[in-house]
Symmetry: C2
Subunit: 454 residues, 2 copies
């Protein structure tokens, strides 16, 4: 007796109903990506480890899944090296390839390799799984999809504007109420500059973020504990207490940051974006939020994050502007701006709010009951007719007991069942049974087709 | 200067145009799968090696990509074992997981793991990449997609009928003229039985297959060389020379195989399928072909293969009936029938015959030229209007030189370019330029929308 099979921890099987929901998510996002002129690419699951190593920090290197060289993977290692048991070093000689850890590094590699064929500015999107040897926990998997769109090779802030509109359109289509938070790395740099604490910018944003929860006194205390001098804390007060509309926030910031060239540049960028957005306003709220500090090592301009309003969950989409995508592969000067939709979290939000449209299930629309050989032959003709009309139709493959056939239709959530027995054949019609109401009607095939297709 | 990056041999990047073509292929096939009541599942890229090993023969085991255990992968290996340099054994202790080699074994594992949630008969489809450490060569990759549909948990031949109709529908939608070849493992067993050569059935089918090329004399000579006795070769003559319509072939076979119970069973199965197909005839030719011998170790009933008529290429789709999908995982008695579309070969055929529908490209439909800040603001409104109407639209992100912007639209194969300058703004209209004919027209946004959407 074989052992009961299992799958690697942190990975998942997706059942038909889960796939239907995931397809709905990915199709909605892809449709909007294309609506905005983005084009899809795909890269291989395996990349050379030389492409991946050193790109995600020391911790990231450890989380890469490495693929054993085929054939004699020991051939480049002598006995002494083997006995040294230096796992990092041995892994590097045993393995040349690793699984993709994100979509950004493979994209950078793609841009460098195909620089001569690419039509810049390159608006690409990519929806593929990535793999990380993270400790699995609730909501964290070792295999999960990323869903990225980037524009590279253009410094224009119009790209930021378009990406905000794109996010707005996606969440509008999902019916998820969101707030889009916007920040700019240059403003954070400006703040750090004027208070003379360039190294402490993350501590500062983390502390400011707690204002609503712990109050001003405790925020200042935390800043003091982090070693920010009193004078700097005093200067930070108007920033911690920053309130009002986006325009009011910008006005306040302009005063505070007037002596920081980079800070003013950040403010101007935000202002440009707000002006352009005003010409075609978003349906979601758009809020300047200085506590946004994602990817500070990476982003150089806009930073954006999307929060669901009706579900307690982290950010469900994020992105920003970066200066140097491909420098690490010897091709400097390619800047870009991108966003990444968190498909797994969006899945959770749609589930919790029960927002999947009914027809997103895409299951069979009508099932023919199988009464045996003679009736089967008639049903085969009807099936061809229904399918030609674009209706997803099937017949139960054998003349099993009615209860079994109905149970199958029920479990598959098929809304209509067609009965073609002796009476129906004589009348040249079909009895249509509504599986939800139980109602039955004798109808022609044409009537059923226009009814289901209406 | 970093080394120019590359990708692992046998893997591919897919550019936007290639992705559009591949999406057209996968979407067409999925649509038809769903039209016939199949539901999609996905399984993880990595499976436990205990699931994969021993399922593809000794050669297959070697072609599995193995994933190094994370952390201290050496911990279960002592010095002596290390120095033994037994690569198979060491690989088995260093690696617990491997990349999926096909979709069939993961599907069997899925069925066993989820047996209690599955609604049988289970009509599942799956479109995912698989990985094989094969030597790469023209048309053979180390990463490629498989595209499978199976019905498991039903012995009914109606499933075979439906799958033939499904293939017919797929190739009709592609516009690829094909011949569908049909055989039955039981007939081959019957032939082997009556001539008393059960071990030689592959040699026999290979030899028969050469009839058109080398003639009867040479076929017989080859059979002799393979050690088939003269008496058996004499008995094989009517089978080698089998000709005529499907019905005529069956009539001949009935006579020859009258003493083989299994042979007659195979003939009856084929007859049942042909009768059912006759009630709703295929658009493609359907031909009984005894030389079809794919998966003889695996298939137990119908064997099917699809050949393109207008391109010289191997079979582009294949499948058959199997008796015991899940026995190897301790769940006996699950039979099924399935088919697999060869996406890479279909891609080649569509390319060679230039059969991609124009709108399958799904690139941007209209691009707004960027004349600067003032015009940009107007264009943003138009863009929102166009996109709300479902038109894939974009604006060049900066006010670059006209030639550059037009070059971009051209390279992206965008059919229409919208010009909104001073004159147009005053008139409240847009100049629409057809990029193929060069023709220009001054039109309202509404007119352009209905023109593009028509």
């Amino acid at each position: 007796m074989a052992a009961k099979p299992s799958i690697p921890k942190g990975t998942r099987d997706f059942s038909p109903i889960e796939m239907a929901k995931r397809n709905y998510i990915f199709n909605t996002i892809s449709d909007v990506f294309r609506l905005f002129g983005f084009e899809q690419i795909e890269t291989p699951a395996m990349e050379n480890l030389s492409t991946l190593m050193g790109k995600y920090g020391e911790e990231g290197d450890k989380l890469l899944f490495k693929v054993l060289n085929s054939g004699d993977f020991l051939s480049n290692t002598n006995d002494e090296e083997l006995l040294s048991r230096n796992t990092n070093k041995l892994a590097a000689t045993f393995c040349e390839k690793g699984l993709r850890y994100d979509l950004t590094v493979p994209f950078a590699r793609f841009v460098v390799m195909h620089r001569n064929e690419i039509n810049f500015p390159f608006k690409r999107y990519q929806i593929q799984p990535v793999w990380r040897a993270d400790r699995p926990q609730k909501g964290r998997y070792r295999e999960f999809y990323q869903c990225d769109a980037d524009v590279v090779g253009s410094d224009s802030l119009l790209n930021e504007v378009e990406l905000l509109q794109l996010m707005d359109e996606v969440f509008h289509r999902f019916g998820i109420r969101v707030s889009i938070k916007l920040n700019n790395r240059k403003i954070l740099s400006g703040i750090a500059e004027i208070i003379g604490e360039t190294q402490k910018i993350i501590d500062i944003t983390v502390a400011i973020d707690k204002l609503d929860k712990i109050g001003l006194e405790k925020v200042n205390e935390e800043l003091r504990l982090k070693g920010i001098p009193d004078k700097a804390i005093t200067m930070l007060q108007p920033i911690i207490l920053l309130k009002g509309s986006n325009r009011e926030k910008l006005a306040t910031l302009k005063k505070i940051l007037k002596n920081s060239e980079i800070g003013i540049k950040g403010i101007n960028e935000l202002e440009y974006i707000l002006n352009k957005i005003d010409t075609s306003p978003l349906r979601s709220g758009l809020e300047i939020d200085l506590t946004l500090a994602r990817g500070l090592n990476y982003y150089t301009g806009a930073i954006v994050e999307v929060k669901a309003l009706d579900v307690e969950i982290g950010s469900i989409t994020g992105g920003g502007r970066y200066d140097n995508l491909t420098g690490v592969f010897g091709m400097p000067g390619i800047s870009g701006v991108g966003i990444s939709f968190g498909a797994d979290r969006i899945f959770d939000v749609l589930n919790q709010l029960n927002l999947y449209p009914k027809d997103s299930l895409q299951t069979t629309q009508i099932m023919f009951v199988n009464f045996g050989e003679t009736e089967e032959a008639i049903c085969i003709k009807y099936l061809a007719q229904f399918r030609t009309a674009g209706i997803r139709a099937e017949i139960y493959p054998e003349a099993a007991k009615m209860k079994k056939q109905m149970g199958y239709a029920d479990a598959k959530k098929i809304n209509y069942v067609a009965l073609v027995g002796e009476t129906e054949i004589e009348a040249g019609k079909i009895t249509l049974k509504n599986m939800i109401t139980g109602e039955q009607q004798l109808l022609s095939a044409e009537d059923i087709i226009s009814f289901i297709n209406k």
